[in-house]
């Protein structure tokens, strides 16, 4: 609760709203005690006095009545009517909603049909019809405004109740022999009440405005009694000659509604946990770069990731997702990057083309070089021109990675047209060709499908076709086969392998599956807690893993036809990367760890093409 208020008041606007609203409420509550003139006493001789006139702080209206006094009494009336309307609407609407949701079935059906009908009206027509039938007057306006808002509460509360009515504690109460009324009052209502209060806080400003509106139209409070709306309505005829009589009540309505809106927004933000972590931030076009330290020298690799560090800055916490990773590929080579979920392998891959969502992602050190050119500090346009053209991505789960509202042909064509000026017809031809290349049957008709009309395997092929669209030099495949079944996976892997051989494509293949690595990759790098712990030719690493982690990881893989070998899961979980220990990150889970492992920074060392980050490796490299 105290965090709620802390959050609420950290929001300066919400705090401002709360202050303004409190001042108005206090003024209104003590109005009868203030030394004000009678708001209804007319003095035509003193009519239309300007503000700050003698004895009339805000001046007088067309009948010479003191505006300050009328304003405070009018505000009192407006707030009283608006709040009453909100209470009535909330009570009746919630009762209807609870009954519909609790009893369900036919009762629910009939009630909700009626509610839908009421909601089919533009709200004011309903209010006008009610006032027309009952006759103008403040009480009738109150009834009309309350009635118009009943469906809103009924629908909201019904939704919550339906969810609660199926829960165990309601069943338990029923089995205990409690009657319906008792269950509703003692079990349901306490659980629904917070929702009712939140719904009220969001509609109360609206209802104050609505009653003021009806009074403005002359359908609400009748003279001499005046709320803010009728004050404004009466002042309208003299608006041009004496604007202050209109401005005074108008600004008061504005202040009330705005402070309620501000406070309501603040409450909603404080209650919405997603906003707390800053997750609703929009990712920028490229990852934020705040690089410190020296930029590593260029190499002759096709793509080289050098001492890359990528962090996530969430509030005050820093998560070191990638803590100095170096990887490289040559043309025609396939590099496997393997690790558990959360090891930083995907973040490494996304950092290459600046695709890590930022905020919260920040690249803090290292370089990514494509043919020697550093991509990390490249200007946006130069990076964009390489994205999809020279370095292309294949993502996991193509149902969420393909745009749901564009045809696959359009999405393929767009990949080409973002980099080459070709006609629409040509682009379509090329899209069909690409679909054929990835062996999609009936490419001619499939090109006009939407992603949801295709199977998972077919969508994944579309993803691959899209990566191939501009014949890139490097493809970074981020778990492209994880969501697929084994037969489709095998087809896709052989497809990628063919393309690599035919076109000299370099592939960075990110996965957590050793089987896939063995099938496709020339070399493999094992990643743990944001760092490479072992690297080498696939065969060598698989046959004789040097890092205890690699060894344990391979031991987790069940062997087909291998019989009853013990599958040894690695105890514990990968570390959270916001508070890494100084030494080896695997030490807490490693059965060979010594005291030394936990304290000194261990470097990646080895000979030739094999290297390992361990003081006590399983094999000497």
């Amino acid at each position: 609760m105290s965090t709620f208020f802390k959050l609420l008041f950290r929001n300066r606007l919400a705090a401002m709203g709360a202050v303004v609203l409190s001042v108005i409420l206090i003024l209104v509550l003590i109005t009868p005690l203030l030394p004000l003139q009678n708001p209804d006493i007319t003095a035509t001789a003193d009519r239309f006095q300007k503000p700050f006139a003698d004895g009339h702080l805000l001046g007088t209206d067309h009948l010479g009545r003191d505006l300050l006094s009328r304003l405070l009494h009018g505000t009192r009336l407006s707030l009283a009517v608006g709040i009453s309307a909100a209470l009535i609407a909330a009570t009746i609407g919630s009762a209807i909603g609870i009954i519909a949701g609790y009893f369900g079935g036919r009762t629910d059906n009939i009630i909700m049909r009626g509610v839908d009908m009421l909601m089919a009206f533009p709200y004011i027509l309903l209010a006008l019809a009610i006032v027309a039938a009952l006759g103008p007057g403040l009480m009738n306006a109150l009834i009309a405004v309350a009635a118009v808002n009943v469906p809103f509460f009924a629908r909201n509360i019904r939704g919550i109740t339906v969810g609660l009515a199926g829960r165990e504690f309601i069943d338990a109460a029923r089995l205990a022999g409690m009657g319906h009324t008792r269950i509703i009052l003692t079990e349901l209502l306490p659980n629904v009440l917070p929702v009712i209060i939140i719904a009220m806080s969001t509609t109360i400003g609206w209802m104050i405005l609505e009653t003021a509106g009806l009074s403005f139209l002359g359908l609400g409070s009748q003279p001499p009694q005046a709320d803010l709306g009728s004050m404004l309505g009466e002042a309208r005829s003299a608006m041009i000659s004496h604007p202050h009589t209109s401005v005074v009540p108008g600004i008061m309505i504005f202040l009330i509604v705005m402070s309620i809106n501000l406070l309501g927004d603040g409450i909603r933000d404080a209650l919405d946990p997603r906003l707390r972590s800053g997750a609703l931030s929009r990712p920028r076009a490229t990852t934020l770069v705040e690089r410190t330290g020296d930029v590593p020298e260029a190499t002759d690799d096709l793509l080289a990731i050098q001492d890359l560090e990528t962090q996530f800055h969430v509030n005050k916490r820093i998560y070191r997702a990638v803590g100095g990773v170096s990887l490289s590929v040559k043309p025609g080579e396939c590099l496997g990057v393997i690790g558990e979920s959360g090891s930083g392998k995907s973040v490494t891959a996304l950092s290459v083309m600046g695709l890590v969502a930022s905020p919260p992602g920040v690249i803090t050190a290292g370089a990514v070089r494509f043919r020697g050119e550093d991509l990390i500090d490249a200007p946006y346009e130069s990076l964009r021109q390489k994205r999809g053209d020279r370095v292309a991505y294949i993502f996991q789960d193509p149902l969420s990675t393909l745009h749901p509202l564009y045809r696959v042909g359009q999405q393929l064509a767009e990949a080409i047209q973002s980099h080459h000026k070709i006609s629409k017809a040509e682009a379509r031809e090329r899209a069909i060709q690409l679909l054929e290349d990835v062996r999609i049957p009936n490419a001619e008709s499939r090109v006009d499908n939407f992603p949801h009309e295709m199977s998972g395997g077919m969508r994944q092929r579309v993803g691959i076709a899209m990566a191939l669209a501009n014949e890139p030099n490097v493809i970074i495949a981020d778990e492209p086969t994880t969501a697929l079944d084994v037969t489709v996976q095998a087809q896709i892997l052989s497809l990628l392998d063919d393309l690599r051989r035919d076109r000299g494509l370099a592939i960075v293949f990110i996965t957590h599956d050793f089987g896939v690595v063995a099938q496709l990759c020339d070399r493999v790098a094992v990643v743990y807690a944001g760092r490479v712990v072992e690297e080498g030719p696939t065969g060598a690493v698989l046959d004789a893993p040097a890092h205890p982690y690699t060894k344990r990881l391979i031991a987790c893989v069940p062997e087909l036809g291998g019989g009853r070998r013990m599958l040894s899961a690695i105890p514990g979980l990968p570390p959270v990367v916001d508070d890494l220990p100084p030494g080896c990150a695997f030490a807490p889970r490693c059965d060979k760890a010594q005291e030394k492992c936990r304290h000194i920074d261990i470097s990646l060392a080895g000979t030739g093409d094999r290297s390992v980050r361990c003081l006590y490796p399983e094999e000497l490299v």
Partner: protein, 315 residues
């Protein structure tokens, strides 16, 4: 597609019937004798009885409802006693003026609101975002009738840029430029609140969409950022923006009542308020049913637009 439209139209029939039932029930709330309510308390008993017979008020309620419904279906909405002309003629004439005003305001608030929301989301926490958020906050807090009055004071009275009120100039008006001249202020005043609401919700819809995986895919393909925002993101965001537009259309139509009063616009809202004050209940009843029915039909076209945009909706 055609099938879908027909299906939606058919599903509107019970809603339309429900509307007539609700209006009928509300009108039967009238305390005392409706004929007295219509004729006023000075009416002679003979006249009251005659009117009761003419209106069929001596019959049972259910029968009265079906007579009323049957009459409406043949285009007979009754006769307005205060104007002494058929209700339907008056309502449809007035509704045209409302359509011009509310339609313009609706187009304005949709375009401006979505644009502001998109800019705000694309420049999140930037200067443009802050400025838009501030203006939107004021926009949604000012009562439209007060805003209208202040606009008259500033632009018509002080600056003399625009006419104070009405739909056409009394002398020498009547052409399109004249109409536009008269339309600017009321349309803007009417659009203000809805623009704010649409801008706000568009902003959050865009922020929601911009975090989706397919946006990352578009960027990974090298699609220029402008197209990522205005194409990929906006198109996906429209799926949640369009229903908001449908709801806001109802609010614009409602707000038109105030704006028509403030700007002396000869629309159906002003007609309804006048009719209520004169106790011309048949006119109120006819006007409410007519406008509500139009709104239901409008909402069907919103659903159709939604199904055109989103192929995942089964048509």
């Amino acid at each position: 597609m055609g099938g879908y439209i027909v299906k939606r139209l058919v599903s509107a029939v019970p809603v339309l019937l429900g509307i007539t039932i609700i209006v009928f029930l509300i009108m039967s709330l009238i305390p005392g004798d409706p004929a007295t309510a219509i004729l006023g308390s000075y009416a002679t008993p003979e006249n009251v009885e005659k009117l009761n017979r003419d209106l069929g008020l001596d019959k049972p309620m259910v029968q009265r409802y079906f007579i009323w419904l049957g009459n409406m279906l043949t285009g007979d909405f009754g006769r307005s006693f205060s104007l002494n002309r058929p209700v339907l003629d008056e309502v449809s004439e007035r509704f045209n003026a409302t359509l011009v005003l509310a339609g313009t305001a609706f187009v304005l608030c949709s375009l401006l609101g979505i644009l502001a929301g998109v800019i705000s989301a694309a420049r999140q926490y930037g200067l443009a975002d802050k400025a838009i958020t501030f203006v939107v906050l004021i926009g949604i807090s000012v009562p439209s009738f007060f805003l209208g009055m202040m606009m008259i004071l500033l632009f018509a009275v002080n600056l003399r840029w625009l006419p104070v009120s009405g739909m056409y100039a009394i002398y020498g008006g009547g052409d399109l430029p004249d109409l536009i001249n008269h339309l600017i202020m009321p349309a803007l005043a009417l659009a203000a609140v809805a623009t704010g609401v649409i801008a706000r919700l568009s902003r959050s819809a865009m922020l929601e969409v911009l975090r989706q995986d397919f946006i990352r895919t578009a960027r990974a393909k090298g699609v220029p950022e402008r197209r990522v925002i205005m194409g990929h993101a906006l198109r996906a965001a429209m799926v949640s923006i369009i229903p908001i537009l449908g709801i806001q259309a109802g609010f614009v139509l409602s707000g038109a009542v105030y704006i028509e009063i403030v700007f002396q616009w000869p629309g159906v809202g002003r007609m309804l308020v006048d009719a209520i004050l004169k106790r011309d209940l048949l006119l109120v009843q006819g006007g409410v049913v007519f406008v509500a029915a139009c709104y239901v039909l409008f909402n069907i076209s919103v659903d159709v637009a939604q199904s055109l945009l989103d192929p995942r909706i089964k048509t």
